[in-house]
């Protein structure tokens, strides 16, 4: 407890030092002789011409500094992307050469062919898995989110506020608190590799569908079908739809359900698109949970597959690794380029919630 007091009091002292108000002086300072003080601006005695010249010079200098700093930071930010692409096109020897090159001496498109070889990095499989999981997960989330946001935004019911508070509180809990139990739960449902589902429909060679596959998909999709954050976002959106529209639809004799789907959803489409894209990106990028519950090479998601396809020991094939990384990263960047607005607005609004 003492430490807190110390921290608090040292902040107090700092605050006092920085403030201009003398906090331990009495108010009788009106008698301090101030009428004869000659107040001047800092450079009051330099000629106006000089001041204007200095002003211009300072403006140019500050612009140079700002643009220079931003450019430097931008290069630092972009460099890994650039490096990723050119490394994916280099030979392994060139990558390991003592002097690094900033452009491949020989452009090795073959790195991509080699990397996408089924034995190295089974891109098609991972892609299909990720798309299935991603799209079903996203659609499911959209539906649950729309329903819940509608209930919180438009309907009145007992306990509405308390329930919403509880929902918000869950956002504070770190996912690690739930992971272990969820793993056990999912195992209990029989969705894991040697669980009941896989015994129900045993894997048959050549047959794509199997109990284990179904289980893996379920395990990756279902626990994350609800996102409290997106419920919060969509509720905000729904609340902004004017009440008059609702009353008008009532006058027209339409039901709530009709209003929800014919009016509210279309009006909130930018937010819904943001949620869709962000959730899809989330599925693409997810690693931890799929790694836990779907580690069979056939069921892996793309990020999971990426990491596990390349070992870090022995003769590391950096060229192939980077080629695979490019393949994994490019779709995200494409999404970003085309849907930049939705992504940045969605992240921004999600961030402002604090």
């Amino acid at each position: 407890m003492n430490i807190f007091k110390k921290i608090g009091s040292s902040f107090e002292k700092l605050d006092k030092k920085l403030s201009t108000q003398p906090t331990n002086v009495k108010a009788s300072y009106e008698n301090v002789e101030t009428d004869n003080l000659k107040l001047v601006i800092r450079e009051g005695t330099i000629s106006i011409d000089k001041m204007e010249k200095i002003q211009k010079v300072m403006k140019v200098i500050s612009l140079i500094i700002i643009y220079g700093f931003l450019a430097l930071m931008a290069i630092v930010v972009i460099l890994p992307f650039y490096w990723m692409i050119i490394t994916s096109l280099k030979t392994n020897d060139e990558i390991r050469a003592t002097t690094q090159t900033f452009w491949p001496m020989v452009v090795m498109w073959s790195n991509y062919a080699n990397a996408l070889n089924k034995t190295v990095f089974d891109f098609p499989t991972y892609l299909i898995n990720t798309l299935i999981v991603g799209i079903i997960s996203t659609l499911g989330t959209l539906i649950t989110t729309i329903f819940a946001a509608f209930a919180f935004a438009r309907l009145n019911f007992k306990g509405k506020d308390i329930l919403f508070m509880i929902l918000l509180a869950t956002m504070m809990i770190p996912g690690e608190m739930m992971v272990i139990t969820n793993y056990i739960t999912v195992a209990n449902f029989g969705w894991l590799n040697d669980g009941s589902l896989s015994q129900l429909w045993p894997s048959v060679d050549g047959q794509w569908f199997s109990g284990a596959r179904l289980g893996a998909y379920l395990a990756m999709i279902v626990p994350f079908w609800v996102s409290v954050l997106y419920i919060y976002l969509l509720r905000q959106n729904f609340k902004q739809i004017p009440n008059e529209l609702y009353l008008a639809s009532k006058v027209d004799g339409k039901s709530d359900w009709n209003f929800l789907w014919k009016v509210m959803v279309p009006l909130s489409s930018p937010t819904l698109i943001s949620i869709f894209i962000l959730k899809l990106m989330g599925a693409w990028n997810s690693y931890v949970w799929p790694n836990l519950v779907a580690d069979d090479p056939d069921f892996r998601l793309i990020t999971n597959g990426l990491r596990n396809a390349f070992s870090v020991d022995g003769n590391v094939q950096y060229g192939y690794q980077m080629a695979a990384t490019v393949v994994v990263t490019v779709p995200l960047l494409l999404l970003f380029i085309f849907f930049r607005k939705y992504i940045m607005k969605g992240v921004g609004r999600a961030g402002i919630k604090g």
Partner: protein, 404 residues
């Protein structure tokens, strides 16, 4: 501090791609604002008065022309070096600081210039031959440079000094009780006084106010404009304020500058502007109720409205022509022998005056507004009126300039 605007012009460039034309906000303004006076910039919205204020403040840079503070040209100087105080229309009080800190903020950025003094006794410097090279000095003596002028130093204000100035200024605008509150805890009128205090605390060379009364309710407006007047007279600082309310400008300004579309229309003492408007716009802008305009013509030095000879123009001769006639509401007298006839629509007793709303075929507006003394007897129907010559203004129909 006398302020001089020389051929000041500010053009806001348009966007040719979007078809937006250049906007000339201030057009060749040339005014001298004498030291210590309270000047009002008056005009409808879009007339360039706020832009002029911002040019003086330095928040905008003019396209051409010069601005002089006294004998210094400050045209392109950035605002932080101009030494002005500005009261924004929305006050712009720093929301995260207490009132005390708000008012003290400018003081923390200024320096005190004073004479450098010796802190201790300094003995005289004597060279090897016993001659005095540099004289002795006692503590407290002013240090002189080679020319014998006092050496100046600049230092920060001490907390006691800041405290004293803040409290004195607070007392001036009567906000001493709120010093520890935050801006969002104050009412609009109180916030404005804080804004004024913040502007005055630094003893500015000129005080600028941007539509100071427009955000206040009617009751507060009357009170506050008197306060502005009182403050200005007490501190003697050159003050320029911007408004679109002619009554405000008339009541407290030493001089009014009427502006329209960036061009100065007339600049004079309020009463002078009222009695002698230079053109139709100025005549129309000042006066409540507004002036009445009629179509008339001059023939043989007599004024005719609606074929009725209402006025002899007397000594000042005017050629025969069509004119626009402006007659102040108080420029009519009920006189059975009068030449002008109006059809009375409504008679209102206002206690001290009587207001008549009447119809006249040659009036530019649908109704004529007439104010007469309450003791006059008047009945509904056609009323005969006589004109008071000094309340009648004649304007050129095309240029709208005053010709009589």
């Amino acid at each position: 501090m006398e302020i001089r605007l020389k051929n000041l012009t500010k053009v806001f460039p348009g966007n040719p791609k979007k078809g937006i034309k250049d906007t000339i906000a201030v057009n060749n303004l040339d005014i001298t604002i004498p030291d210590g006076k309270l000047i009002g910039l008056l005009g409808p919205s879009g007339c360039g008065k706020s832009t002029t204020l911002y040019l003086i403040a330095g928040l905008q840079v003019p396209t051409s022309g010069e601005i002089w503070f006294g004998d210094e040209e400050v045209t392109r100087l950035s605002p932080d070096k101009r030494g002005i105080g500005l009261v924004f229309q929305n006050y712009a009080l720093y929301p995260h600081m207490t009132i005390y800190k708000n008012v003290a903020f400018p003081l923390t950025n200024l320096r005190v210039e004073e004479n450098r003094v010796y802190k201790v006794d300094v003995p005289a410097k004597i060279d090897s031959q016993g001659n005095v090279v540099a004289p002795a000095h006692k503590a407290g003596d002013i240090v002189l440079d080679v020319d014998g002028n006092p050496l100046k130093i600049k230092r920060k204000l001490k907390p006691e000094e800041i405290d004293s100035i803040v409290r004195k200024t607070a007392k001036l605008v009567q906000i001493e009780d709120y010093l520890l509150r935050k801006p969002n805890q104050l009412s609009g009128g109180q916030q404005q006084r804080v804004a004024i205090a913040r502007a005055l605390a630094k003893s500015p060379r000129v005080l600028l106010l941007d539509e100071p009364l427009s955000n206040l309710d009617a009751r507060l407006r009357l009170q506050t404009r008197e306060e502005i007047r009182r403050l200005q007279q007490r501190t003697g600082v050159t003050t320029i304020f911007v408004t679109h309310d002619q009554e405000e400008a008339m009541s407290i300004s030493d001089e009014i500058v009427v502006m329209k579309l960036g061009v100065e229309q007339q600049r004079a003492h309020p009463q002078e502007i009222y009695n002698n408007p230079i053109n139709k716009f100025v005549a129309n802008f000042l006066g409540t109720p507004p002036i009445n305009f009629f179509n008339g013509n001059v023939k043989e030095n007599k004024l005719y409205i609606n074929e009725e000879c209402v006025l002899d123009l007397g000594e000042k001769k005017l050629a025969d022509q069509e004119v626009t006639v402006g007659i102040r509401p108080e420029g009519f007298e009920v006189d059975p022998k009068g030449a002008m006839h109006v059809e009375c629509q409504n008679i209102e007793t206002l206690g001290r005056d009587i207001s008549i709303v009447a119809k006249h075929p040659c009036c530019e507006r649908p109704m004529v507004k007439i104010i007469i003394d309450a003791d006059t007897k008047v009945q509904a129907g056609i009323v005969t009126l006589r004109l008071k010559p000094h309340k009648v203004f004649l304007f050129n129909t095309k240029t709208e300039e005053r010709i009589w």
